[in-house]
Structure formats: structure tokens, C-alpha cells
């Protein structure tokens, strides 16, 4: 096992873990419910570890990206429904990420947000066009490590560690009025959706095919998912915990996309503010690339087109045109002036609806003796896989009623 490759893979997974949805929901969850939703982050992180590892293993052994499986296992009609739903979900998510980067650039430079959205789009398209696949992912993942400032800030803020530790135990806060209980449930579903976004699996498994993984890479795959996602999740939990410790006493439920960085500024001053702004910028920009490429991968795999960034863009013309068109569509959504926070809410709602249809074919193939041979799911992977499938089905069923009852988490 190449230690450098492993370290870079893990660091990329850490830096790329938090996106705009996790940032928003972690900060709001902390200020609204203290440490009581940490366990949902922990639960969802184990879920994305299990399903991410499975998708990487299927890519390495069966050489099957997720949307090939979806078409073959669900059939053309249900596959097409899944494709359309995931396209909508990823497109909204991509628009939210681009809007998020535009806001951060606006806060860094003072330049108009719409201009920054266009500039960011040019940078993102240039990045995908110029860099080889491995460095597209790594560049933003590694720069996203500036997000570690949130963990350092939490330590400096000296929060009540015992209460944070208690937050890992599943709980529902006592004494909440009925409306707040429903909102608490909505936040739980939103966190599951934000941590287990389907685009992460599409991108991760397609990346495995791009990098020509084989059975020899299974250990790196497992360690990247467990250690990388685990450490990445700790950053999200740091954001939640700092919000509980610093924002809740001031009656701040971060409604503005630039608020979360104050968590680093309050204990660390201007340096903390700048590092947090840079961390969020790179992490969210990386997520914008992942969502856009995930969509292009899905379409190309579903229709059997040539795809992949390991080939020159003009060698895969339909794939290339698809990701450029999707970026432009996402930019068009941002340029309408729609509130980025609303986009984030819609992104998590659509994503949770797509989740079961994404994971079912993956689970079925990962357990298939014919395709996976000795690398098929063992009892633990199968048990956890079906347990998490049940969790995401329950979350998907509850999502729309909770969204409507809480007006998208507003109360």
C-alpha cells in the first residue's frame, strides 16, 4: 500500500467532507438544539462510510459505476425516474454550492456576489478542463483542510466537553413544544440527507473507475472511507458544537450563509475568520465540482456514452458538453437571485428522496456472489447496509411532511 497515496486520499476525504448543506444544518442544529443532534451526524457518518466503501469496492471489483447498476437492477423506467430525480437533486445542490462560493468570495473581497458567481464558474470549468482527475479532487480537498480551523476554534472556545460527549448518545431533548419536536425531526432528516448525499457515492465510485482501481486498492478504499469520512465528520460536529457554545447564548440561529465563520473568529480573531472563509470556499467549491461531475457521470453511464476525465475532454464530447451545460444551468439558477439558503433546503429534500433508489442497486450488487466473488458483502457489511437502507427509507418517507410542517425548518 502506497502510504503517500493513502495519506493524500484520507486528507482529501477530510477536506472535502463538509459542504454548504452540512455547514448550514450543523450551525443551525447547534444553535437551536445544543448538542442533541450530534448523534445524528455520527449515525449518518457510519452510513456514508458503509455505503461509500461498498460503492468503491463495487467499482474496484465489478468495474461497475453506480448508474450502470441502477439501470440494470431497477430497469429502464425506474432507472430513468431515478436519473431524473438525481439530476434535479444534484443540480439544485450544485447551484447551492456555487451560490455559497459566490457569497464567501463576496465576503472576502467585497465584489458583487453575482460577478463572483460567474468568476467562480470560470475557475471551476477551467479546473475540470485542465487538471487530471486525481488532482481535480485533491486540489480542492486539500485546500479544504483550512476547515480544520473550526476544530481548533472549538478547542480554544473550551466548550462543555462532557455535554458534547453526551451528544453522541441517541436522544430527543425533553420539554420541547410539539412544533419544536417536529422541527427537531426535520433537522435529523436534513442532517442524514446532507451527510449521505447521493452525489458523493456517484462521484466516489466513478472516481474509482477513473483511477482504474482493482482489488489491490480495496484496503485504501476502506481506510479512506472510514478514517477520511470519520475525521471529516468531526469537522462538521465541531461546527455544530461551536454553534451551540457560542451562538445559542446570543440568540443567533445562523440564517446568513456567512455566519458560521464567526465560530472561528470569536475564539481566534481575524486569522480565524480568514482561515474559515478560505476553508469554506475551497470545501464548497470542491463540492460544486463533485455535484456537477456526478451528474455528468450519471447521464453518461445511464445512456452508455464515453465518459471520464482520464480522457481528453474532446475525446468524450457528450460527457464534456453535459458537465459544462450542467454548470451553466446551475449558474443560471444562482443568477435568478434565489436565496442560497432556500436552495440548500430544497437540495437536502430532493436528495433524501433519491437516496433509497441509489443505494438499493448498490446493496444488491455488493452482495452478488457472481459479480463480487470473494469481495462480496460479508455479514457485517450486509447487516449495516440493510440497516442504513431502512434508515434512509424512513427518512425519505418523513422528509416531505416534515418539510411542509416546518416550512423548511423555519418553525
Amino acid at each position: 500500500m502506497n502510504l503517500l497515496e493513502l495519506t493524500l486520499g484520507i486528507m482529501t476525504a477530510v477536506g472535502g467532507f463538509v459542504d454548504i448543506s452540512e455547514l448550514v444544518f450543523a450551525a443551525q442544529a447547534g444553535s437551536s438544539y445544543g448538542y442533541a443532534l450530534i448523534w445524528v451526524f455520527a449515525l449518518s457518518t457510519i452510513g456514508i462510510m458503509v455505503l461509500g466503501e461498498m460503492s468503491g469496492r463495487v467499482a474496484a471489483v465489478a468495474k461497475q459505476p453506480v448508474f450502470n447498476l441502477i439501470r440494470h437492477r431497477l430497469g429502464l423506467k425506474l432507472g430513468l425516474v431515478t436519473l431524473i430525480a438525481s439530476l434535479i437533486s444534484n443540480l439544485i445542490t450544485c447551484a447551492a454550492e456555487i451560490g455559497g462560493t459566490a457569497i464567501i468570495l463576496h465576503l472576502l473581497t467585497g465584489a458583487p456576489m453575482m460577478l463572483m458567481a460567474v468568476a467562480m464558474m470560470v475557475v471551476l470549468i477551467g479546473t475540470i478542463w485542465i487538471l487530471p482527475f486525481k488532482w481535480i479532487e485533491r486540489a480542492y480537498g486539500l485546500l479544504g483542510l483550512f476547515m480544520i480551523v473550526f476544530a481548533v476554534a472549538l478547542i480554544k472556545a473550551d466548550p462543555p466537553w462532557a455535554r458534547i460527549a453526551a451528544g453522541f448518545v441517541p436522544q430527543i431533548p425533553s420539554g420541547l413544544p410539539s412544533g419544536e419536536l417536529i422541527r427537531f425531526a426535520y433537522f435529523g432528516v436534513a442532517i442524514i440527507s446532507a451527510v449521505m448525499f447521493p452525489y458523493e457515492v456517484y462521484f466516489y465510485s466513478s472516481g474509482g473507475i477513473e483511477e482504474e482501481w482493482g482489488p489491490k486498492d480495496l484496503s485504501i478504499n476502506r481506510l479512506t472511507c472510514i478514517v477520511g469520512f470519520g475525521l471529516g465528520s468531526l469537522l462538521a460536529i465541531s461546527i455544530l458544537s461551536s454553534s451551540a457554545a457560542l451562538f445559542a447564548p446570543l440568540h443567533v440561529d445562523p440564517q446568513l450563509p456567512g455566519s458560521a465563520v464567526l465560530e472561528a473568529e470569536l475564539p481566534m480573531g481575524r486569522v480565524g475568520l480568514l482561515l474559515a472563509l478560505l476553508g469554506v470556499l475551497f470545501a464548497v467549491a470542491g463540492a460544486a465540482i463533485e455535484t456537477c461531475l456526478a451528474n455528468a457521470y450519471s447521464v453518461a453511464q445511464f445512456f452508455g456514452w464515453e465518459w471520464g476525465r482520464h480522457k481528453k475532454p474532446w475525446k468524450t464530447p457528450r460527457f464534456t458538453l453535459t458537465w459544462i451545460a450542467l454548470f451553466l444551468l446551475a449558474l443560471a439558477i444562482v443568477l435568478t437571485g434565489i436565496d442560497v439558503m432556500k436552495l440548500v433546503e430544497f437540495a437536502v429534500l430532493f436528495s433524501v428522496l433519491v437516496l433509497p433508489l441509489t443505494y438499493l442497486p448498490l446493496l444488491l450488487l455488493a452482495s452478488d456472489r457472481h459479480f463480487m466473488r470473494e469481495h462480496r458483502n460479508g455479514a457485517l457489511a450486509n447487516g449495516l447496509g440493510w440497516l442504513y437502507f431502512a434508515v434512509i427509507v424512513a427518512a425519505a418517507v418523513a422528509a416531505v411532511p416534515l418539510f411542509l410542517l416546518t416550512s423548511g425548518g423555519q418553525g
Partner: protein
């Protein structure tokens, strides 16, 4: 029977169109104002960059104005919104924080048990 149904519908209408229907807007307004007060406190201590402080103030005021427009006629939060919007961008944090406290009290009064 018709009268009873009408009465129930009227009550439901009154509940949802009045006080409690304003609750989400009041909460968002309170949070935006609290964020504005925090930004101004930190800016006064020289810990924020100028573009960040200006961007956050503008976003907070826009949010307060948007939520004020969503309030029903005669909402107790309307005068608080007006008081907030009358303050300058770089107002001292204390006057903003006082309005945050008023909004929090209105929220508490409207919150169902």
C-alpha cells in the same frame, strides 16, 4: 352543525393568520438582528475585515426587511422591525441587542406550549 364548522374554521383561520403564523418570520428576524449585533460588536473590536463586516450587515438588514414584509398587519414585531431598520449599518451593538431581546419576548409569548 354548519355554525360549529364555521366557528372551528374561523378559529383556525385566526390562529394561522395571526400571531403564530408570524412566528417563523419573527424568529428569522431575531436571528438576523442577533447576527448583525454580533458582527458590529466584533467589528468595533477591529477583528473583522471591512468587506466581511459590510457584506454581513447588508445581508442582515435585507433579511430583516424581507421578514418584516412577511408579518401580518398589526404584528407586535412590526415596530421592532421598524426600529431595527432605522438604525445605521454600523450601529452600536447594544441598541440592536435590545431589539433582539424584544423579539425574543414576542416569540416566547407566541410559542405554543
Amino acid at each position: 352543525m354548519k355554525a360549529a364548522i364555521l366557528l372551528v374554521l374561523t378559529c383556525l383561520g385566526a390562529c394561522s393568520s395571526g400571531g403564530q403564523a408570524d412566528l417563523p418570520a419573527i424568529k428569522e428576524m431575531r436571528s438576523a438582528a442577533a447576527e448583525w449585533a454580533l458582527v458590529n460588536r466584533e467589528a468595533a473590536r477591529g477583528r473583522l475585515t471591512a468587506p466581511y463586516a459590510a457584506g454581513m450587515r447588508k445581508a442582515a438588514r435585507e433579511e430583516i426587511a424581507a421578514q418584516a414584509r412577511a408579518l401580518s398587519a398589526g404584528s407586535p414585531a412590526a415596530p421592532v422591525a421598524s426600529a431595527l431598520l432605522a438604525l445605521p449599518d454600523d450601529a452600536a451593538p447594544d441598541p440592536i441587542a435590545r431589539q433582539v431581546t424584544r423579539l425574543k419576548q414576542i416569540e416566547a409569548a407566541l410559542e405554543p406550549a
